[in-house]
Structures are given as structure tokens and as C-alpha cells.
Symmetry: C2
Subunit: 163 residues, 2 copies
DNA sequence: GCTTGAGCTCAAGTTAGGTTTAGAAATTAC
DNA sequence: GTAATTTCTAAACCTAACTTGAGCTCAAGC
């Protein structure tokens, strides 16, 4: 048992992360290790759990700033207890549900498009700039905003609107 | 009605995309416009639909190469028909379902963690490198791989395994 | 006590998905 | 016919999330 605290290499080994990634997370404020006399980072055991949470949250598509905000709900001074982690997990679960629900909404709208086959403004519920843009971060603006002529089939049958 | 074909500016206006983005998509092989005598890009009406599909697929988290592969199922020579788009949409729906199912699996595993509150190897189903890594693209390797001592609570009650 | 692996900092490189800029040429509008 | 827009290419720049490399220090093992 060499020094008190865990080395960055040990954390890397335990989490499967690269040492450089852990250092990067520190620069982003997701961890705050202390330093030993020689200037090396020393971590606490609870930091393995923090890193695990980061990994899982990333899988759900959360950005590092978002994850940092989540982790900020943990007590800063004392070591987080089981109850602390439970609270964070419960809140996290709420975010997950919301994210999944958004995807499901988009999927259900796509179903309408499959039904009509044309993905056009009239029948495609995916045309809804607000909802669609809200679904996954900042996306572009309009979706499927076009008229029947844009389908490209039977162009003679339908009159283009303004062009 | 100026020239035959649609200008890049018109497509940008119709889809809400930036002109630069449409050019970028061309470099990535998602569109293949032709050129007029002066060297300017000319698009077909069906390209509005392609761009709409790109926008929607991106909202679901698909990468441009993935979207390109999806679009490659459309006929290259003739203008895609309603049936062509229907086929693509149906396949796309399958991909969506799979993606949503993966997220739900992760979420359900997290439920176990909330229950146990410790996010530890023993009781946390999120510890499963293969499944977890498969969920959303290439992620890091281990997840929640640690022991009860890592929780940081009651450290005296449990014996650390190897360190 | 010396060697060697582990760690340090800082800068630059990487990938994805674009945007911005610059200078020139084409197109449109009047 | 001229002026204003649009478009062109190429290269540079951007953010996120890291990795890599250089040059140097620290710590652990024998």
C-alpha cells in the first residue's frame, strides 16, 4: 500500500478509461483530485463511481457539461453516500425517460410517413420544426417541409406551388 | 422559371439547411447534383426529400455514413418512387426500433442500480461491457466495474479485494 | 542509488459535422 | 449593359471529446 489515495493509473485500470481521458475530465470539472507532495493526482475511491457514471451517461448521449451538472448534485465535501447516489440515479432516470420518449415520438411520426409513403408536408407529422428540433439537441430547423411535387413522381400530375 | 434544375440556394431555403451544409453532404456522398454550363450545382426536386431524410435521420443520432448507406438503397438512376421511399422508411423504422430498444435496455439496467443504490458490480446490471458498449456506437470499455468498497460508504464494513 | 515505469504539463493532432473567408466567376435584376 | 446576388473552390476555422508527443519529474523495485 504505497501512498494514500488512488493513482490515475489505477483509476484508468479500474474503469477502462485512458489516463488522458481522466485528466481531460478533470479539466472539464467532472473530477477534482488532490495532489500529493510530488504533484501527482490522487483520487478517492468514490471517483471510480463518478467515472462509471460518466461512462453510462455518455452512452445515453449526454454531453460532459450535462454530466458535470448532474454530478454537481452530489455532496462536494463529504464522500457521497448510498442515498446520494440513489438521488442522482433517480434524477438521471428521469432524463433518460424524457430522451427515450422524444425518440419514440419521432418514431411514431415516422410511422405516419411510412403509411403515406411520400413524407410530404400534408400528411407527414414529422413536419413540425419545434418538436423535431427539440428532440435531440440543436438540429436544423425545418423537416420535410415540401409539397407533393417534391416527391418526384408524376411531376406532371401536380402543380408546383410557387416556383 | 430560370434554369432547369434547382439551385443550391433554393434547396437551402426549402430545407432550412445552410448552403455550406448541402455542399458538405455532397462531399460525403449523400447527394450527387449535376452541374450546369457555368459549373453551378443543379439539383432535382427529389433532393429536397433526400435532405429531409438526412435531417430526420440525424435527429435519431445516425451518422452521415450511416445515412448515406440508407440512401444508397434508393434507385440511383431514376427518380425514387413512392414505393422506393416507403421501402427505405420501413427499413429505417427498423433501425429506430433497435436504437430505442438499446436505450430502454440501458435504462432498465439502471433501474436495478437505483434499487440497490450502490451501482456496484454485484448488483448493477449496467456492468456488462459488451452490451453497454454496443448500445450507442463505440464507447469506452468497462462500466461500473468496481466493488462495494468503491462506493465509499462504510469502508470499514467491507474488505477491499486486491488493493 | 539507480533504473525504469508512471505521471506531469503544454501543445498539437484527430474525427465528425459543419461554418467562415477570400477571391473569382456566373446569374439575375433593373 | 451594368449592378447586385448567388455560386464556385480551397483552405482555414470551429466545438466536442479526446489522443499523442516532447521533454521532464516522481516513485517503486532491486
Amino acid at each position: 500500500m504505497p501512498q494514500p489515495g488512488l493513482s490515475i493509473g489505477y483509476l484508468a485500470e479500474r474503469t477502462g478509461l485512458a489516463v488522458s481521458a481522466i485528466r481531460y475530465y478533470e479539466t472539464q470539472g467532472l473530477l477534482t483530485p488532490w495532489r500529493n507532495a510530488g504533484g501527482q493526482r490522487r483520487f478517492e475511491r468514490a471517483d471510480i463511481r463518478r467515472l462509471s457514471f460518466i461512462l453510462i451517461a455518455q452512452k445515453f448521449g449526454f454531453t460532459l457539461p450535462e454530466i458535470r451538472d448532474q454530478l454537481a448534485t452530489l455532496p462536494g465535501k463529504r464522500t457521497p453516500t448510498k442515498a446520494d447516489w440513489q438521488k442522482l440515479s433517480t434524477a438521471f432516470r428521469g432524463h433518460l425517460d424524457a430522451r427515450i420518449a422524444q425518440l419514440e415520438t419521432l418514431r411514431d411520426r415516422l410511422d405516419g410517413c411510412i403509411g403515406c409513403g411520400c413524407l410530404s408536408l400534408d400528411s407527414c407529422k414529422l413536419y413540425n420544426p419545434q418538436d423535431a428540433a427539440a428532440a435531440l439537441g440543436q438540429g436544423p430547423r425545418y423537416v420535410m417541409g415540401d409539397d407533393a411535387a417534391d416527391l418526384g413522381i408524376d411531376p406532371g400530375e401536380l402543380r408546383a406551388d410557387s416556383d
